[in-house]
């Protein structure tokens, strides 16, 4: 199916994507408003009814596209492959069919070599009802992603949805050429509740939203270097950021891996004994006042601050 059949949220007299919240948008709205108007061509769309075969046994409802839309379109006049997870269906989690759609897309990108891939993450990780298939899907996606990057393909992750980018999703994100994240985005392997269960509420109070965001949220990831770019929550801003990342990200190979090894080792050296994100930010040169202001800082000011503190690396990831 193509873009004009997708529901949209903005009245047509407003510039298509300006001011539309990424967080509030559905996966299909994000695709529709991110790409050039009407250019999205979906592969295995919902009318194919390729839903999960594993949910019926749990009396759970299926979604026709199994929670992910994949296909191809144009971004500022140039072709891109795109995959967008629907975070509100089963928490955007990876199931057998869901994952396979992304695997196939990445393998195609690998074989063509010239078309970048945008992955719009919105996921809690593996779908437990299909846990083994989900875990395998994630492993196959990672393999296909690295094969694509080895073939020269830029794979850009965009993170800012309701479900965040957790678990295996976080690992796939870590394989991307570059990541853009918004305030609402979170990247982590273990979720807040799981850390609390494992280590106790004294170490991590999962109900302390400020703590969760300081530890896993978009601003911390940008300041730490876990994400390459910070974006405002609008689809427009993500579009501009995606274009910038496609143009600037490094390739892939042993030199990039060595640079990444050095980058991560240096991070452990510098921040390995920090107790909280605020300690890391101060160690990076933020004043006490700046560090305190980070959570509430509006996007443009934060982007300026982050660029001063942590220049986006173009040689590692």
């Amino acid at each position: 199916m193509n873009a004009s059949t997708i529901e949209a949220s903005a009245p047509s007299h407003v510039l298509r994507s300006q001011g539309v919240s990424w967080y509030e948008a559905s996966a299909r709205q994000r695709i529709d408003l991110l790409l050039d108007a009407g250019t999205f061509k979906e592969y295995i769309g919902p009318e194919q009814r390729e839903h999960s075969p594993h949910l019926q046994v749990f009396d759970l409802p299926e979604q026709f596209d199994d929670g992910i839309a994949v296909g191809r379109g144009m971004l500022a006049g140039a072709p891109v492959f795109i995959a967008a997870q629907e975070g509100r269906f089963m928490g955007g989690a990876f199931g057998e069919v869901h994952g396979a759609k992304l695997t196939g897309l990445l393998r195609a990108a690998r074989d063509l070599g010239s078309i970048p891939v945008l992955i719009l993450f919105d996921t809690g990780g593996v779908r437990l009802q299909e846990a083994n298939a989900g875990e395998l899907a994630i492993a196959e996606i990672m393999r296909a992603l690295i094969e694509a990057r080895t073939a020269g393909v830029k794979v850009i992750g965009l993170i800012g949805g309701r479900a965040g980018c957790y678990g295996g999703g976080g690992l796939i994100a870590g394989c991307c050429s570059a990541l853009a994240v918004s305030e609402q985005g979170r990247i982590s392997v273990s979720g807040p509740e799981v850390i609390e269960t494992n280590r106790g509420v004294e170490e991590f109070d999962s109900k302390d939203r400020a703590l969760v965001w300081r530890t896993m949220g978009g601003k911390h990831r940008r300041l730490l270097g876990g994400a390459d770019a910070f974006s405002d929550d609008s689809i427009d801003a993500f579009r501009e950021t995606a274009l910038a990342l496609i143009a600037s990200t490094p390739g892939f190979g042993i030199e990039v891996l060595k640079a990444e090894q050095a980058r991560l080792a240096s991070r452990l050296d510098r921040f390995g004994t920090c107790g909280d994100a605020v300690d890391i930010w101060k160690a990076e040169g933020l004043s006490d006042a700046q560090a305190e202001a980070v959570p509430a800082m509006p996007a443009p000011d934060f982007i300026t601050l982050a660029n001063k503190v942590q220049e986006a690396r173009h040689d590692a990831r």
Binding site: A8, E62, F64
Partner: protein, 105 residues
Amino acid sequence: MENLSYRYSAPRRAGGSKPLALVGVVASGNLEVLVERVLPDTECQLEIKTAAEGFGPVWAAVTSDFVARRAAGGLKLSINDGGARPDTVALRLAQAVRVIEGDEQ
């Protein structure tokens, strides 16, 4: 899970020429509607899959009301229901027709 199916004669054909549309998301309290222009102009069919069993009469009422009020001829509407309330269902059905008619862009 319960599968429900309703076929109605539809007084008016749904406008426009788009072959298909999709609205909604399968989440708690929500539903998705896949609408396809695959039937004769005077017929409307609704296929519903829901985990909430025993609400046949409610679905019958909502769907027959929908077909009476909206020009839905020629349309097959397939629903995956996440436990939506009847008024949410009604809204989505109306939205589905608007999108396939091309009124929403």
